[in-house]
Subunit: 512 residues, 2 copies
Amino acid sequence: MKNSLNRELPDQIMSDLNYRPFESTEIGHPEIQRTAPVVRVTTGNDKVTDDLEAVVKNNVHDGMTISFHHHFREGDFVFNRVMGIIMDLGIKDLTLAPSSLTNVMNDTVVKAINSGTVTHITSSGMRGSLGDAVSHGALKAPVIFRSHGGRARAIENGDIKIDVAFLGVPNADRLGNANGMYGDAVFGSLGYALMDAQYANKVVLLTDNLVSYPNTPASIKQTQVDYVVEVDKVGDPDKIGSGATRFTKDPKELKIAEMVNSVITNSQYFQDGFSFQTGSGGAALAVTRYLKESMVENHIKASFTLGGITSPMIDLLKEGLVDKVMDVQDFDKGAASSMADNKNQQEIDASWYADPDNKGAMVDQLDVVILSALEVDTNFNVNVMTGSDGVIRGAVGGHQDAATAKLTIICSPLVRGRNATVVKDVATVVTPGDSVDVVVTERGIAVNPKRQDLIDRFNQVPGMKLVSIADLQAEAEKIVGEPKPLEYTDRTVALVEYRDGTIIDQIKEVKD
Amino acid sequence: MKNSLNRELPDQIMSDLNYRPFESTEIGHPEIQRTAPVVRVTTGNDKVTDDLEAVVKNNVHDGMTISFHHHFREGDFVFNRVMGIIMDLGIKDLTLAPSSLTNVMNDTVVKAINSGTVTHITSSGMRGSLGDAVSHGALKAPVIFRSHGGRARAIENGDIKIDVAFLGVPNADRLGNANGMYGDAVFGSLGYALMDAQYANKVVLLTDNLVSYPNTPASIKQTQVDYVVEVDKVGDPDKIGSGATRFTKDPKELKIAEMVNSVITNSQYFQDGFSFQTGSGGAALAVTRYLKESMVENHIKASFTLGGITSPMIDLLKEGLVDKVMDVQDFDKGAASSMADNKNQQEIDASWYADPDNKGAMVDQLDVVILSALEVDTNFNVNVMTGSDGVIRGAVGGHQDAATAKLTIICSPLVRGRNATVVKDVATVVTPGDSVDVVVTERGIAVNPKRQDLIDRFNQVPGMKLVSIADLQAEAEKIVGEPKPLEYTDRTVALVEYRDGTIIDQIKEVKD
């Protein structure tokens, strides 16, 4: 079977897993029966323990679904420790359903797959040794990749039913009231983990910082928590943030950032009260700086910024250029640590951020978003999941979700090393071209033909030259040559959900 | 059938409504499947309207369950307006499930009962013309009275399934992000209404103060809200608080307050980090003042105070005598307006406050609570529901919930007018004697015999004289005479749930 993007999907697996093929970016108005956890009643007076082994043994059983958050990013000390215990206990056939998997977790997951401990995975993404193993068929069942909003949707409607969530926090009181704002290993927003806390049957907090009762603000509440496990260290604060908050000096990145800023400021959306989301990384951070100058110059302020938050965003808040920072995750130490002191840096959960099956997520309100790409094709479809060798090395993240913005800008260098970024067909569609408006490379700006309004507008801007996406592709091919077609086996190693839960693409096992 | 307190319960009704008789104050460790709403998906861009009639017409249908909150107390402009429209539309057979019913709503409910619009009611309480009508058999189905924690429990497990919640708020943005802290009609904590917002299928906000998007803090979130209805005025701020925050000069109240303070400060619970809850009203407010003096004198600070919050509590917070004010509801303007500025005045929902079917509610952590009574009997059972004439004129409120404290003190004058407060048998048991530790009247302090530890302790306090509850009862009877037995028909007009959902008593139709 094929979906509306003409992507071939595996009939048997689609039928076995009861999946529908992707049709449209329109969500419509379905009525959704939400799900809810089973709660074991307690007065809450016996939650604290240092015996993590006993907690795992008494609560995790063969065939269950367990979850983790990735707010500690590469500084996470929780995942490997818990998974180590689980493997030592010989527990089998688990479904691993974390908000995402960071590199520090890779080897452990590979080991857990090989031992039969983990037989199913759903995640935002994976990289390194794990992506490699999965792409080479290590896991029998296909991995399900979901966006952050898609995961929230799946948890809320019961597609993901978490039996036990293990959530590391930089502080908690003896009943489990906790937040991400105080302590040694501060990561700021608990946005993704709030879904697990609300919906998992059993919630196990791990903390190195037991504070006095009652702990407030309580992003996670005592009513949701079964155990508070004391550990030595939950995370390495120096590895929580990417640290990349300095202004890039790469001339190509600067040029792209300037062009993106020109797209934004010349669009109809650049007006007082507009909203935007940028990611991390050099070009995105540089955009924030150019955009700031344009905002000051034009006396324009933003109503909110959204998403993974970086220090430059917090600077905009402090300088009064942005009213609210709506924060589902913090990408660096500065953003993480500022949440405690800024009441306008509002923690939001992944549902509020991006669940499409909602009474209105924040992403639905976005004017402008700047997103990256591993590949974008001449239909504006974007791949942020697989590399030029077809191997999994990325994450859906909030890509599909934020692409619902009124002006979705994909920015990327035209080529990376010997690989084209703009291609005829992306290896894996993660975000459908229908939700992409503009592609910016250092060689030119391509506007999606369906946005004739933007084309007309930009054509009147002196010095702003539009190119077609086909021209960009041809130019890239001229530089790096025609790519050799990737070779796969017949086996499906992963399915990529669109945010609404339909399948937008499959990923196949790579041939060695 | 009789329950463990020997209260006669109506077999047929108990069976029809699938109720179990009250057995014990112990909740145990049942596993509870929580429920969840049906959500109609939207991008949230068409929520604002001033056409309340259309919203009601399109969403409220015969046989549904609708809800309201009572945070505006006697200043509520929402309930009567919505109910008026519902009656005008001729909608019938509704179940009314507000957090409670205040006097300003009485006549409307009576009208709605008489017209067949409302055929079922569950509430914390009722008074005035409504209590009178129900006690005289106006409603065919028995009213179900629930504590605030019991209502949270019933909403969370699906015993109360709210189709449409109408929630008045002093501010909201166009997508429904709202709180109780800013605007003209500020009431502070939205504690009870947060249950409705989370669990109702449809949530209709009414506000007189549409603020810019995104509105934070969002006690109610856009993900929960279907409509934002603009109205002229949601409430009269002058009637939201009782205003009774002045120190009483009634010598009897002062004496009781001093005795209560003596009970607290001579108990083992009066130590650094203790916690307490008091209600509103003269004696309770006076207790807070005496307690404050004792705390200062003994260098003792409290970790938290809980419950309906009054200005004197906020003063303790500001003076550093209390670390946290855990706030499910504000009883006066001062407490309501201070929430915006005090990050240690933490808004909590009714589940966190008191749901017994939880992983630990705040009430489970209470050291000391001071509660009032209409009647208390020689088994320490308390009635806060029916008057000396057997007519409904009270509310369960948080009485049963907070009585789980380690030291539960009931304070009351020995007699009120020509009626005894301490009696042989209360007309209606709301809170079981098993959870009551001490009864304080101006004529003496009676300790529940099961608290021999307190008796031993207090007997060693110079000047502290204990009496038996039987002595208090006898003394009251000496003053006002033996009460004439109340006369009822055979009809049950209300059932009182214990907080765990069992039936602790019934209320019968009064004979005229």
